[in-house]
Symmetry: C2
Subunit: 229 residues, 2 copies
């Protein structure tokens, strides 16, 4: 039934949003000596949204937005050494070892014996390559694609590139907005596996009533795929 | 004689280092009210080198290094609003329209009629995609590859991926370190077209006495390729 199964990476194969969330807490702590930080999460997200068009996704972009938000929230009063701390947060994020989600290793190993597998991940090339290398999973995947945005157009280009029939293509990921809805839009199949935290930017309503499957964790995927045959 | 001609992008197809250089001058100006900035260029490069392992190439990485250097050089005295200025420099860099080098448009158009062409560029995915789109050249290239580093290993992987014979592969670029020497190392041919500014990091001595060609500008490339036949 399937010629290829594609996986999102961040929060689908390994933990990611937890690291951003922890870092946001560090920033909150750092800024608490200057002012009340109750609105920090929304303020930071507003800066990130504004900067997305310039800086794209990833840790460096997030860091520039943290610095900018910190300057705005403190009305320019933040000390240089505290901004240096924010850059240190970025290095700590980048030094955090890639931690696979539960069931990932055995599931990917098993599926690689019966199917061609691909990673389709968006974000910073450098961050993503580092995580893919650290994950130890690279050899299970026939193709690895790092893209700057995951829209229906992106999926169409990749399917054309690898000469794939959308009805025999399955996309697996934690983001309705980036993994599920655009894959369904171009006629593909999709499995949504929610992660316990979702970045505001990745939330989406299923307004088009797209037809997709939902699984609780990736370990259930091989059994689900059997039912497709 | 050639199955494919690959081009570096920054400072080979369009201006790039000039924008970094102009921005460095703006930083120098900004910091001059705090201290003597005679050593700024070397100080900034030292920070960039140290950060390369964490942040990779590109404007965001450069910006984080500018901020860090500014904090260090002012011993933490730099004002938040001045750091905001540095982030504005980054947005200005990203808003600078991609400006093709002389002779590029007609040369690429002409060569695309007789040869398969590829871009092999390193750096930030988001920056590079933006510049490729803006350049108006994308349709002339059969393949576009954005990589995080350009070593002999990188070239070998790409030649394997596209099933190319190195002796029938020509790499064209402005950097001896990233374009010329590694391409020659894997048995490819290379043309060096120097740009008028070279980032310290891209300088290299031709210690292995690698055999490559040098042209003054890209407009001379079609005539040179004729001589290879």
């Amino acid at each position: 039934m399937l010629d290829l199964i594609a996986f999102d990476a961040d929060d689908t194969l390994w933990h990611n949003e937890t690291i951003y969330s922890l870092t946001q807490n560090k920033l909150k702590q750092l800024l608490s000596k200057y002012r009340n930080t109750d609105t920090l999460e929304d303020d930071l997200y507003a800066t990130e949204r504004r900067n997305l068009h310039y800086f794209g996704y990833g840790i460096k972009s997030f860091t520039l937005s943290m610095i900018e938000t910190a300057i705005e929230l403190t009305d320019g009063q933040i000390q240089g050494r505290d901004i240096e701390q924010i850059i240190n947060f970025a290095r700590e994020m980048l030094e955090t070892p890639t931690q696979l989600l539960e069931h990932v290793e055995e599931t990917i190993a098993a599926l690689s014996k019966t199917h061609k597998l691909m990673i389709i991940t968006k974000g910073d090339l450098f961050d993503q390559e580092t995580k893919i290398a650290q994950s130890g999973l690279a050899d299970y995947f026939t193709h690895i694609e790092i893209v700057s945005e995951k829209t229906a157009g992106t999926y169409q280009i990749l399917l054309d590139k690898y000469n794939l029939n959308p009805s025999r293509f399955l996309m697996v990921g934690n983001s309705l907005r980036s993994d599920v809805l655009p894959a369904v839009e171009i006629g593909g199949r999709a499995v949504h596996i929610p992660y316990h935290i979702t970045w505001q930017h990745e939330t989406a309503a299923n307004e088009s009533q797209a037809d997709y499957f939902e699984l609780e964790h990736i370990g259930l995927l091989p059994g689900f795929i059997e039912t497709l045959r």
